[in-house]
C-alpha cells in the first residue's frame, strides 16, 4: 500500500520529531482548561455562597384605559426632561437630536426616545411664569391630537378641570405650595426633589397627602428604578457586608452648569416674566434675571447642596438601607469656589449619625451598633470619589455597577481569605447591568449622573431612562393602585434630613431629631425655619455687596 510505503521509510527519529508537538499541544490545552475551569468553579461556588439576586423590580402595571391628562408646572430644563420622558419632546430637542445622530451614529438618544413605550397620557396644560418657555411648550405640544393650554398660575391650572395629574419642576420654594393645592383638589402629583423648601411645609404636605389618600404623590428620585440598587438591597438583606459603620457619598463638579450658573435667556425681562409670581413666598426683591435663572444659588428659592444634591445621595442610601432620618447632623462648608454673590455653600460636608441603626452583624451580639453617613461635596473639583458602604465584612461600591470587596479584617470571609479563596484586593462580586450594552453618555454632568446610576438604568441589558421608569411607576399607581417607591414617607425623610443639613450649616452646631415627637429639636427662642431660609448678604471678592 502507498501509505505503508511512505511510513515504512520513517525512522524512529522521524516519528519523534514529527509527533513531538502533540504532547506539547496536549499539555497546553490541559493547563489552560484546568486553570480556567478551576477559576470558574471557585467563582461559581463563591457566588452560590453569596447568593445575591440580581433581579429587576417587578414590572409596573399596564398603561391601558383612558389617557391620563397631565399638566406641567415649571417648564425649565428639568421640566422639559420630565415631559419628554412622558413622550412629549420639544421641537427644538427633536431637531437637535436629529442633527446629533446624523453627525455621530453612536449618539442613540433619538432612537432610544422613539423606541420608548407609549405611556398613554395627554399633556393638556402648561404653567410657567416665563413667556418664552410657555410658548415653546404650546408650539411643540399642540399637534398629533394633543391639545395643550397655558395657565398663568397653578391655581388656574388645577381648577381648569383639564388635568388629572401634575408634574412640578419649579424652583424649590414652590414645590410644597403647589403640591398641597393639587393634592387637596384630588390631583395626583409628581414633585421634583427636594420635596419641600422649609420644615413647616414638610409637615403640611404630609398632612395633606394623608388626608387625601386617593391622590398619588411621588417624589422625583428616579434612581429608585435602577436595577443595581435592587441588587445592593439584596446584598444588604443577606448581610454580605456585615455591620456597616460608615457610608460615604460625594458630589464633585467643576463647571459652570454644575455650579448652577445657567444661561440667562436674552428675552428675559419684566415684560416676559411674571416676577411677583416667581417670588411667591420668597423675600420681596427687584426684578433680577440672575435670581430667576440661577435660583439654586440662593436660600430664598433653592436649598444649595443639602437640598439639591445631598437629597439624591441620601435617598439612594435610604432606598437600600431604610435607615430613616438621622438622629444628629453636623454640617460645615462655605462659599469657596464660586464667590459670585450666591449665599448657598459650594463646598459642604454633612455628617449624619444613626446611633441605633445596624445593617446586621457577623460578630458577637451587641458588639456593633450605629452608623455614620458622610456626604461630602465640592463644586470645584471633579475627582470621582464614588459611593461606598463600609461594613465589617466587606465594602460595597455603588453606581450603575455594584462591586463588593471583602475586608481584610472580616469575620465572615476570614477562613476564605486564609485559604486563598478570596483576595480582599479583588471584588468577590460585581454586577454591571451595562456589561452587555454600549454606552454613549455625552457630557461630563451626564456621565456623573450615569456613574451614580441616576440617569440610566438597564432592563434585560437594554438602556432605559430611569426618569421614564419613575414616571411610569407613578402613572401605574394612579391607574392600577399601589404605592410609589418614593412617596410621602420617603419624601418626608428626605426633606427633613436636607433641612437638618441646611440648619446645621447655618447654626454652626449639631442638629438633633426627636423621633418620638417627630420634630427637629430647637433651642429656646429659635425659629428654625427663619434660620434655614435666612437669606444673608454675601460680600464678593471684589468687595461689592450682593443680595
Amino acid at each position: 500500500m502507498a501509505d505503508d510505503s511512505i511510513f515504512s521509510k520513517l525512522s524512529r527519529r522521524d516519528w519523534l520529531k514529527g509527533l513531538a508537538g502533540v504532547p506539547i499541544l496536549g499539555s497546553i490545552w490541559f493547563a489552560g482548561a484546568s486553570f480556567a475551569g478551576k477559576a470558574k468553579r471557585e467563582r461559581k461556588a463563591l457566588l452560590e455562597t453569596l447568593n445575591i439576586k440580581a433581579s429587576p423590580p417587578p414590572p409596573t402595571g399596564p398603561m391601558s384605559g383612558d389617557p391620563i391628562r397631565v399638566g406641567i408646572v415649571g417648564f425649565g430644563g428639568r421640566g422639559e426632561d420630565l415631559v419628554r420622558a412622558l413622550g412629549f419632546p420639544t421641537q427644538e430637542w427633536l431637531e437637535a437630536r436629529k442633527k446629533d445622530s446624523a453627525e455621530n451614529p453612536s449618539d442613540t438618544r433619538l432612537k432610544e426616545f422613539l423606541e420608548q413605550e407609549n405611556l398613554n397620557v395627554k399633556l393638556t396644560a402648561v404653567c410657567d411664569v416665563f413667556d418664552v418657555r410657555a410658548d415653546r411648550a404650546l408650539r411643540s405640544f399642540n399637534s398629533n391630537g394633543n391639545v395643550c393650554k397655558r395657565y398663568r398660575t397653578h391655581e388656574e391650572l388645577i381648577a381648569s378641570g383639564e388635568v388629572d395629574a401634575i408634574i412640578i419642576a419649579t424652583p424649590d420654594h414652590w414645590h410644597a405650595p403647589i403640591s398641597i393645592d393639587a393634592i387637596k383638589a384630588g390631583i395626583h402629583v409628581y414633585v421634583e426633589k427636594p420635596m419641600t423648601h422649609n420644615i413647616a411645609e414638610t409637615y403640611a404636605l404630609r398632612d395633606a397627602v394623608r388626608a387625601n389618600p386617593k391622590a398619588v404623590l411621588a417624589v422625583g428620585h428616579q434612581h429608585r428604578q435602577t436595577q443595581s440598587f435592587l441588587t445592593a438591597q439584596d446584598a444588604i438583606a443577606k448581610n454580605i457586608l456585615g455591620h456597616v459603620s460608615l457610608v460615604v457619598t460625594a458630589t464633585n463638579r467643576n463647571d459652570d452648569n454644575g455650579a448652577w450658573q445657567y444661561d440667562i435667556h436674552p428675552e428675559a425681562s419684566p415684560q416676559t416674566i411674571d416676577w411677583e409670581r416667581f417670588l411667591g413666598s420668597a423675600p420681596k426683591a427687584e426684578f433680577n434675571k440672575e435670581h430667576f435663572f440661577r435660583w439654586r444659588k440662593w436660600w430664598a428659592y433653592g436649598s444649595g447642596l443639602s437640598g439639591d444634591l445631598m437629597t439624591h445621595d441620601y435617598d439612594r442610601i435610604n432606598c437600600i438601607l431604610k435607615m430613616g432620618i438621622p438622629k444628629f447632623i453636623t454640617a460645615s462648608g462655605g462659599i469657596y469656589t464660586h464667590r459670585d454673590g450666591r449665599n448657598v455653600p459650594d463646598v459642604m460636608q454633612i455628617n449624619m449619625e444613626f446611633p441605633d441603626f445596624s445593617t446586621g452583624s457577623s460578630q458577637e451580639a451587641g458588639k456593633e451598633k450605629g452608623m455614620t453617613f458622610v456626604y461630602s461635596a465640592t463644586l470645584g473639583n471633579t475627582f470621582d470619589r464614588g459611593t461606598v458602604l463600609m461594613g465589617h465584612d466587606a465594602s460595597m461600591e455603588l453606581g450603575n455597577a455594584v462591586t463588593i470587596y471583602p475586608d481584610w479584617g472580616s469575620t465572615r470571609f476570614q477562613k476564605m481569605i486564609e485559604e486563598g479563596k478570596v483576595d480582599p484586593t479583588v471584588p468577590v462580586y460585581q454586577y454591571d447591568p451595562s456589561a452587555h450594552g454600549t454606552d454613549a453618555v455625552t457630557s461630563a454632568t451626564a456621565k456623573y449622573f450615569a456613574n451614580k446610576g441616576l440617569l440610566w438604568t438597564y432592563r434585560d441589558g437594554k438602556r432605559v431612562d430611569s426618569t421614564f421608569l419613575h414616571l411610569r411607576e407613578w402613572l401605574s399607581c394612579i391607574r392600577n393602585g399601589g404605592k410609589p417607591s418614593c412617596g410621602i414617607d420617603e419624601g418626608f425623610e428626605e426633606a427633613i434630613t436636607a433641612h437638618m443639613g441646611g440648619l446645621s450649616y447655618k447654626l454652626g452646631r449639631r442638629v438633633e431629631w426627636d423621633p418620638v415627637a417627630e420634630k427637629i429639636i430647637a433651642l429656646p427662642g429659635e425659629d428654625l425655619d427663619a434660620i434655614l431660609l435666612a437669606n444673608e448678604e454675601f460680600v464678593t471678592s471684589s468687595g461689592t455687596k450682593k443680595s
Partner: protein, 156 residues
Amino acid sequence: MNTQSLSPAARNGLVVLRLLIGWHFLYEGVIKMYSSTWTAKGYLLSASFLQPVFGWLASDSLIGFVDTANIVALMLVGVLLVLGFKSKWGCWVGIGLLALYYLAHPPFPGLPQGPSEGSYWLVNKNLIEAAALFVLAQLTTDTHFGIARLFSTSKN
C-alpha cells in the same frame, strides 16, 4: 524558503520560536474558550484608533461572532504552529490577528496607551510577534520538526 542551508542551531532556533509563539496563541485561545464570561467587547469599544471599525465589530449583532472567530483563530494558529503542520497558514492568520490587536490600540504618539505592562513608542509586543511570524512564514520548519515531517520525502 528551504531551511536546509541554515546551520542546525539556526534551524532549531526557528523551531523553538515557532513553538513559543504557537504556545502563546494556543493558551490564549484555550483560556478564552473555557472562560464563559470572556468577550473582546471592552477591548474593541476602548479602541483608540479606527474606532468606527472596531465599534462595528463590537456591536451587539456582531460581537458573538467576533468573539468566537477570535477564539477559533487563536487556537488554529496555536495548533498549526505547535504541531508543525501548514504552519505558514498559521503564521499569516496570526499576523492578521496581531495586526487587528495592534491597530485597535497602537502605541502612536498622542494616543492613550491604555493598560499595558511596559512603555512603547510605535513598536509594541504585538508588532514584534507579528514580525517574528513573518520570518516563520518565510522559513518553515514543519518538515524538520512537526507532523509535516511524516509526509515529507525531504527531511531537513
